[in-house]
Amino acid sequence: MKFAERGMAAVTGRRGERLLALATVLGLGVSAVLSLVVAPPDAEQGQVQRLMYVHVPAAWLAYLAFGVVFVASVAYLKSGKTRWDRLGVASAEVGVLFTSLTIVLGALWGKPVWGTWWTWDPRLTTTAVLLLIYLGYLALRQMADNPARRARWSAVVGVVGFVDVPIVHMSVTWWRSLHQAPTVLRPGAPTIAGSMLAALLVGVVAFTILYAYLIALRLRVGRLEDRVASQALSARISQRTRGAVPPGPVPVPDGTVPPPAVPERSGADG
């Protein structure tokens, strides 16, 4: 866990964040050229198959994001360190974004190919359930007013909710599904042409770098917002000790009332 914490600190530093931003722009640029220019149109689906070069990486990112939520949730429940809670919520937020994108892109592909925007197919339904689970995770955080309880409850949802990820992936194998079976993550060799596979894999790599950048940025926002809450609380305690202010929330100078500070149960936090 110490190694993971050191790695996280290196990647989420300002220098690491800038490098990730640069790598993301480069990666997405190369991916766009490969998927829109180099890869040929599909023999049966034509141009619309190009949507797969963003749909599949977005779905992969959703799996990865919720996997990270699971790991961060287990780590939080074990250590009680705020940084794991921050990583969990950051990854859940990014995961919800990518799951929503996966569904929208799938619908845009489904209309011309399947003749419908949506159908209650096992893969689509389990993906919608996945989205609802993590929207629930984020909603739960808004409901709990005690920061330690909020972190604990959401960590439990982060662990239990991950059960749906393998169900989503295996749904096309376990049940009769309109959605196609795995093309790359399957036993044996991938069943698509080399240039198409290259565009797909570069897309997956570019989106993974994008994920790392978004997490680094979201963690920085989390740290800054926690610092604001902590400073506002210190100011309020200090003022109340001197009898300068009556009981009640103290607005910060821009007129808003900060949320309560997140306490650190153990260990130093960065």
């Binding site: 619309v48 949507l51 845009l108 103290v250």
Partner: protein, 50 residues
């Protein structure tokens, strides 16, 4: 909508969603930095309202 229309819509939706999220995060970071600076600069013993 032709096949290319779906492709354009898909790539546009992706760019807008990701760009919008990054812009929102950068705005939150800026706002938090401003609040931190404002709180740090405020004298703690300044009399409050009431």
């Amino acid at each position: 909508m032709g096949d290319l229309g779906y492709v354009v819509a898909g790539y546009l939706a992706t760019a807008l969603a990701l760009g919008g999220y990054v812009a929102r995060l950068l705005a939150r970071a800026r706002r938090a930095r401003r609040r931190t600076a404002a709180l740090a600069g405020r004298p703690l013993d300044r009399p409050g309202p009431g």
